[in-house]
């Protein structure tokens, strides 16, 4: 009550607070259908590419070249150039695969699950979160493929197709489940993203001045003209795709966790993995959305469309999923003791106090200890703090996968076959290179396509009073402008 009253008083000074609910606004007051349309389309439909774009694209392009170099050398020399050994046969490649695909999950969560829950604040961040998903899945899918060493020979044991050797994949293997889960995830994400883009591509076609640009966007928009009959089917299809993407996104990280959980290795063979992996995926994905959203809103002056409300809400989602992940860690530790299984007990002792124990404590600091600062509202609304926090969580989540993959593998049942794991420069080059690859794709996306869904943004405006189920629609903006 006190906060409500306070916000009513301060609403005179702060236009970003909603006078009715006392909440932060999803988008700044004073916008019209035309102003939001122009604001978003002008980023793309301009001759002048900003300097930071060239700088960022060049920098990430260089990292991409580094990745290509590392991959080319890998194809020439084989996976021996990596740090993988026996027993540590799963190194960076799998760590990075799980990390990247986890990042992708937040995009689908924002575009699908929050749509089903009618969380209309998601509308402004939905498109680029989904683009982030696509690019993250691309980076992720690369790793298991190059981990095969000779990927052009790997097709016949990944995909069921009639080949001259009469060999078919083994459908009882979680690795094959993975192929279907990840390829379906990539396909559905592309389709969902593209279908959502079509009306906006129509807008781009109509706002473009140059005939060639009009032609390209016209082709891409499939001739969208905004008929209400089309819109009704479009909305049905969007809801259906959201309804399908929701069980899909939950299944993808579940299936990935099966890669571990189905094995008999202490530290992998646990039933907590599926929910704990999914929560971790969403945790790291939201961190990545914040990492991307903060520079974008600053550089493209989108502070009135991607507002503090978005940052605040995402911070709350991270707090929640962070605690689910914490519960996962707790359960693992508890079961190591409660199961009275000496292999399990040793694995956990080794994970915490063994030669790589630093990684475990570093991960606990990044994923559990430091994020608790987000309970403080002032810090949640502090942009530099949230940016740093998102990087911390991304680091923590990478370390989590490192800890799961490496510290379980390098000391298992037989002390005589214990080993260690040390990544080589090629491992680091490939991993850091994928950051560049991801960023290059992202730079191209924000330069060529509307990064904020314009048609969904319009639905957040008060002028859509006919739609009563969007709560923001009923707010009468007085004294705006």
């Amino acid at each position: 009550m006190a906060t409500k009253q306070k916000s009513v008083q301060t609403s005179v000074q702060d236009p970003m607070l909603d006078p009715v609910t006392g909440e932060l606004r999803v988008i700044a007051p004073g916008h019209t259908f035309r102003s939001v349309t122009e604001k978003v389309t002008k980023i793309v439909l301009t001759h002048s590419t900003p300097g930071f774009w060239w700088f960022g694209a060049a920098l990430s392009g260089m990292l991409t070249v580094m990745m290509l170099t590392a991959v080319a050398w890998l194809f020439l020399r084989g996976t021996g150039i990596w740090g993988i050994t026996i027993p540590g046969a799963w190194g960076f490649a799998i760590v990075n695969f799980v990390w990247w695909i986890g990042i992708g999950h937040a995009g689908t969560l924002i575009s699908a699950i929050l749509l089903l829950f009618k969380q209309s604040w998601r509308n402004s961040i939905n498109r680029f979160a989904e683009a982030m998903t696509l690019f993250a899945v691309l980076c992720a899918a690369m790793f298991p493929v190059i981990h095969t060493g000779r990927p052009w020979l790997a097709i016949y044991w990944l995909f069921p197709y009639p080949n001259t050797m009469n060999v078919w994949p083994q459908f009882r293997s979680p690795l094959i489940w993975d192929v279907f889960a990840v390829s379906t995830y990539a396909t559905i994400s592309v389709v969902f993203w593209y279908i959502g883009l079509i009306p906006d591509l129509g807008t781009m076609r109509d706002r473009a001045k140059h005939p060639a640009v009009q032609y390209i966007y016209g082709m891409l928009s499939w001739g969208w003209r905004g008929s209400v009959r089309h819109w009704i089917r479009f909305e049905t299809a969007s809801l259906l795709l959201a309804g399908l993407a929701t069980p899909l996104v939950l299944s993808v990280h579940t299936v990935i966790s099966f890669d571990f959980a189905v094995a008999l290795l202490p530290g992998w063979h646990t039933t907590i993995f599926p929910p704990y992996f999914v929560a971790g995926a969403i945790y790291s994905g939201f961190a990545m959305v914040i990492t991307l959203a903060i520079p974008i809103r600053k550089l493209y002056h989108l502070e009135d469309l991607i507002t503090l409300r978005h940052i605040d809400n995402m911070a709350k989602v991270m707090l929640t999923t962070g605690w689910i992940v914490a519960m996962g860690y707790g359960t693992e530790a508890f079961m190591a003791w409660y199961s009275a299984n000496k292999w399990e007990y040793f694995m956990f002792w080794n994970r915490m106090f063994g030669p790589m124990g630093w990684a475990y404590w570093f991960l606990i600091t990044c994923n559990i200890a430091l994020p608790q600062l987000m309970w403080i509202r002032k810090l949640r609304l502090n942009i530099p703090f949230m940016f740093v926090m998102s990087l911390i969580i991304n680091t923590g989540m990478w370390l989590e996968r490192f800890v799961i993959v490496v510290t379980s593998l390098y000391r298992d049942y037989l002390p005589s076959s214990w080993g260690t794991y040390k990544a080589t420069r090629w491992d680091y080059m490939t991993y850091v290179g994928t950051w560049g690859f991801f960023t290059v794709l992202f730079f191209l996306f924000i330069r060529l396509l509307p990064m904020i869904p314009i048609n969904e943004l319009r639905m957040l405006l008060p002028s859509t009073k006919l739609k009563p189920h969007y709560p923001d629609a009923e707010v009468v903006v007085e004294g705006a402008d």
Binding site: F33, R34, T37, P160, N166, W168, P169, Q170, F171, R172, I176, W177, F180, A181, T184, T187, I188, V191, F192, Y194, I195, I198, P199, G202, T203, R205, D206, R207, W222, G223, R225, G226, S227, V228, R229, H230, W231, I232, R233, F234, E235, T236, A237, L240, L241, L244, A245, P247, L248, S251, V255, F258, N455, R458, M459, S463, T464, K465, L466, K467
Partner: protein, 185 residues
């Protein structure tokens, strides 16, 4: 494939409105006046406008297509797995059963979603008659600036039996549109 002859003449009358409310009112009264061949064009989904011209979610077959697509996809993958594991490439691993159906569920589940999603997306576009890169409405001078940005359009089509150039124009003018434009092929 039959190719439609080139058409000439008038496609319809296009009225432009500033707000969704005005559009819905005009569309509703056109429907009540007996017009059926008409459509509204809006920059974001205005469900009330679709209802006003007699198009509701019940006319929308997207869900059915999605259901059928999903079931077929799941069934296809399950059958493929069964056939591969029992007949095409049976692997005896420690005497475990060849028909190990619990393991087959996961790829079949993924394919159910894959084909349901593809059916939803492409089925929706197909029922919308898209891609259709040319449409007479794009000839209207004010259509492209408004329909995908901030204006709300009602088009009474000339093929409607009730349509008459003068009367329909007068009818539209009554609802105080910004403009009423003739759309030609």
């Amino acid at each position: 494939m039959k190719i439609a002859p080139p058409r000439e003449g008038m496609y319809g009358l296009l009225a432009e409105f500033n707000t969704p409310g005005e559009l819905v009112k005009a569309a509703q009264s056109a429907y009540n006046a007996g017009y059926r061949r008409m459509d509204c064009y809006t920059p974001y989904p205005v469900e009330e406008a679709a209802e006003a011209i007699g198009f509701t979610r019940y006319h929308d077959r997207t869900s059915l297509i999605t259901l059928v697509g999903g079931l077929l996809g799941g069934l296809a993958m399950y059958q493929l797995e069964t056939w591969v594991s029992i007949f095409a490439f049976p692997l005896n691993i420690g005497g475990r059963p060849l028909y190990s159906w619990p393991a087959f569920i996961i790829p079949a589940y993924e394919w159910t979603i894959l084909w349901a999603g593809l059916s939803a997306a492409f089925g929706m576009m197909a029922m919308n008659g898209l891609p259709q890169l040319y449409h007479p409405l794009f000839n209207a001078p004010n259509f492209r600036d408004g329909a995908t940005t901030d204006k709300f359009f009602l088009c009474l089509e000339a093929t409607d039996p009730k349509f008459s150039k003068a009367e329909s124009r007068a009818f539209l003018e009554k609802h105080a549109p910004i403009s009423v434009v003739e759309v030609v092929y």
